[in-house]
């Protein structure tokens, strides 16, 4: 047995944790259940490391191993194995899922302290990690889809974890329903793939993708992109992500920042040969949707006052960057940004959770301020995340964002310009968050705060070590994560070399002079610094009046427009469909039954009960038959 066969252990360990916790989680209680879940996720991380080491040991051309656990389906010509694919792409994903997952499990032990549903939270969390690993490690589209639906279900369960509050329950439903629209795209793409190629295995589908007609390839790629739009919160399906912040903060960090929402980017990277085979406008659609989403979400984030909603819109915006990269053929940059984003955004979500924890569940940034001195570890780590996302060199976000902008520039200066404006806005709104929360005057003790609860003045305190340790680790990763793929010449393109066998030359090669490269990088860094300085003048020195139009605070009224439409004309449309269903569809079914019943009623009358009428029938029948035979004999 090869070491690589151990890949099945990676999802199996969190599954085992899930099963044990379902059985005895409640009895184990706090904090043993949490430690058990953390151990399950941590051992999955170790298993991934073992597989990773084995994969590194192979030749670059042979870094691809499929291990079939058992046959899942065999119907006619349709065969599906429950198989796992270990290649550089899937293992990269698995590494950061299990790694960040373990840190967030650890953090949750501290964060969920005292919650009556403590063990249930870890049940869901382990189930989520299992589903996410199935998604990335599946060797065919159906196993990926299994994980895809699994993470959707876990997202629903965890967003509405505190379901006794109405808003949380409806946020969960919103996430689930919006994702269903995307799932339609994924499923249709699978049907189309099977109809065209006759298999769902990645090894078969991707190998034979170059034989596809461009129109088919474009259709499959764009339908998969519809799925990715749902899962990764792109226009027009992003509305669920800001509301999903109703869940516990570790969930926002794990599911709605680091892992699940990036699965759309993973999927598009996985099927890069299909994208390469489609018409050129196919990937361009993806790039434009990505960059428009990035700008759109960044403008909304500028005016949000809830700390978690700022981060949520920021996540939507950063995911837009990743799709911009996918659309311009910069798959390595997309994965690179995904990893660095997972580091710094998980860090900032956990940091905001730490702030909420210290502020006794206060999430409004207008009631914070000056927390730097009271929560030093949270503040310092948060600042590292802020510098990373703002694109300040040498933090990780600078390198990955710069690479995406470089490819965008090569594709079209318009894409680059929008990306650059977004980078400036990103630096601006993140600085606004930092200055409002950690700098300036403390605002939590003012009259408003007192009037709210009438309780003793709030005393923000630093969180326990269980919560600060993951913050420190993630801050370290956010600081040095850029080292994965430095843009200098030579052997420092680690990630690019590592992913090369997966992308099989589908990565676009760009030819840009070194001077232009450096120039673009400097402009990007200056944009980031410009955003920070602007925010400092507005929110720190208060020299400029803050510009926060109401329309931005309400998210361009996008969400409310949808709600209004769905509540008004949409509702009428659905009512019409329901009426059609009741009258036409049900009417047809009931009509057939009614016709049979009516016919029976009529035919029953033939049974008169009069013996003589039966006799007459027999006599007439005999005469008729006789006449028939005699006339035939006469001929």
């Amino acid at each position: 047995m090869k070491t690589l066969d151990l890949v099945w252990l990676v999802p199996a360990l969190p599954l085992a944790g899930f099963v044990v916790l379902v059985a005895v989680g409640r009895r184990l209680g706090e904090p043993v259940a949490g430690w058990l879940a953390t151990a399950a996720c941590g051992s999955a991380f170790l298993a991934t490391l073992v597989v990773f080491a084995a994969l590194v040991g192979e030749d670059p051309e042979h870094r691809r191993h499929v291990y079939d656990l058992f046959e899942w389906l065999n119907v006619g010509g349709f065969e599906v194995q429950l198989g796992f694919l270990a290649d550089p792409l899937s293992i990269t994903m698995a590494l950061f899922i299990t790694g960040i997952g373990t840190l967030i499990h650890l953090y949750s032990i501290g964060y969920m302290h005292g919650d009556p549903k403590f063990s249930k939270f870890f049940v869901y969390l382990n189930l989520f990690v299992f589903s996410m690993l199935m998604l990335v490690l599946g060797s065919n589209m159906l196993v990926t889809f299994l994980g895809w639906e699994g993470v959707g279900a876990c997202s629903y369960l965890l967003v509405s974890f505190w379901f006794s509050k109405d808003a949380n329950a409806s946020a969960g439903k919103k996430a689930f329903v919006t994702n269903r629209i995307g799932d339609w795209g994924f499923m249709t793409a699978m049907f189309l793939t099977f109809a065209t190629i006759g298999s769902l295995d990645y090894s078969v589908v991707l190998e034979r993708a170059p034989e596809m007609a461009p129109v088919t390839a474009t259709a499959i790629a764009l339908l998969l992109f519809v799925g990715a739009c749902g899962k990764s919160a792109q226009l027009p399906l992003f509305v669920w992500l800001p509301d999903a912040m109703a869940g516990p903060t570790p969930v926002s960090a794990l599911i709605h920042a680091a892992t699940m929402v990036t699965s759309g980017v993973y999927l598009m990277t996985r099927v890069s040969p299909i994208l390469a085979q489609s018409y050129t406008w196919g990937p361009e659609v993806i790039a434009w949707v990505g960059v428009v989403t990035a700008l759109f979400a960044a403008t909304i984030a500028v005016a949000q006052t809830d700390i978690k909603r700022v981060l949520a819109y920021s996540t939507v915006s950063q995911l837009g960057y990743m799709f911009l990269a996918v659309g311009t053929g910069a798959y390595v940059a997309a994965i690179f940004h995904m990893v660095t984003h997972a580091f710094f955004k998980a860090l900032m979500f956990l940091g905001s959770g730490s702030v909420n924890h210290g502020m006794h569940d206060e999430q409004d940034m207008r009631r914070m301020g000056g927390l730097r001195k009271l929560m030093p570890i949270t503040a310092v780590t948060f600042i590292v995340g802020w510098l990373a996302i703002s694109g300040v060199p040498p933090f990780s976000g600078f390198w990955s964002k710069d690479e995406i902008l470089l490819f965008a520039y090569d594709k079209s200066p318009a894409l680059w310009a929008i990306g650059l404006i977004t980078a400036l806005l990103t630096a601006f709104y993140m600085s606004r968050l930092i200055f409002m929360v950690f700098y300036g005057e403390p605002r939590w003790g003012d009259a408003e705060g007192h009037a709210k609860g009438g309780e003793a003045p709030l005393e923000p305190t630093e969180s326990p070590w269980l919560m600060t340790v993951p913050l420190v680790v993630l801050a370290g990763l956010a600081l040095v994560g850029g080292g994965l793929n430095l843009p200098f010449t030579g052997d420092v393109h680690f990630l690019e070399h590592w992913l090369e066998p997966v992308l099989e030359g589908n990565e676009r090669v760009i030819d840009v002079a070194t001077g232009t490269k450096v120039g673009l990088a400097v402009i990007a860094a200056l944009a980031g610094l410009g955003g920070i300085i602007l925010a400092a003048r507005v929110y720190l020195q208060k020299r400029l009046q803050p510009v926060e139009p109401a329309i931005l605070a309400e998210g361009w009224r996008y969400d409310s427009t949808i709600s209004a439409f769905m509540g008004g004309p949409g509702q009428q449309g659905f009512d019409a469909v329901a009426t059609f269903d009741r009258t036409a569809i049900d009417g047809a079914v009931n009509g057939v039954a009614g016709a049979v019943r009516g016919g029976g009623k009529g035919l029953r009358l033939l049974q008169t009960g009069f013996v003589r009428s039966y006799a007459l029938g027999v006599a007439v029948g005999v005469v008729g038959l006789l006449a028939y035979f005699l006339t035939r004999a006469g001929i």
């Binding site: 035919l603 049974q607 009960g609 009069f610 013996v611 003589r612 006799a615 006599a619």
Partner: protein, 105 residues
């Protein structure tokens, strides 16, 4: 001289047909169960007569053996049918066949 026509098998067939028709019409127009029953017997016997005639015409003994079967069936039928009719008339002496309509649909 009175020409006495020769009796041919056709006469028997005609007689059988007349008897059968009388039986059929009687069955259709009468309401008294006992009379209807007699009409059925008449039809049965008309058929029997036809069988015998054909047996003679075709020199085939099978026709006569069928007659024996018909007689056996008729005897059995009389037992059952008369039993029912007697039971019915005992209960309601003026009953006609049209009163037996419990099986109406």
């Amino acid at each position: 001289m009175i020409a006495i026509a020769e009796v041919t098998p056709a006469w028997y067939l005609v007689l059988g047909a007349i008897l059968f028709s009388i039986g059929t019409v009687g069955l259709l127009v009468r309401r008294n169960p006992l009379v209807m029953f007699m009409c059925i017997e008449l039809m049965l016997n008309a058929v029997t007569l036809t069988f015998v005639t054909f047996s003679r015409m075709l020199h085939d003994v099978n026709g006569q053996s069928v007659v024996v079967f018909v007689l056996v069936v008729a005897a059995a039928e009389v037992v059952v049918g008369l039993g029912i009719i007697v039971a019915l008339l005992r209960k309601q002496p003026t009953a006609t066949a049209d009163d037996l309509n419990v099986l109406r649909g």
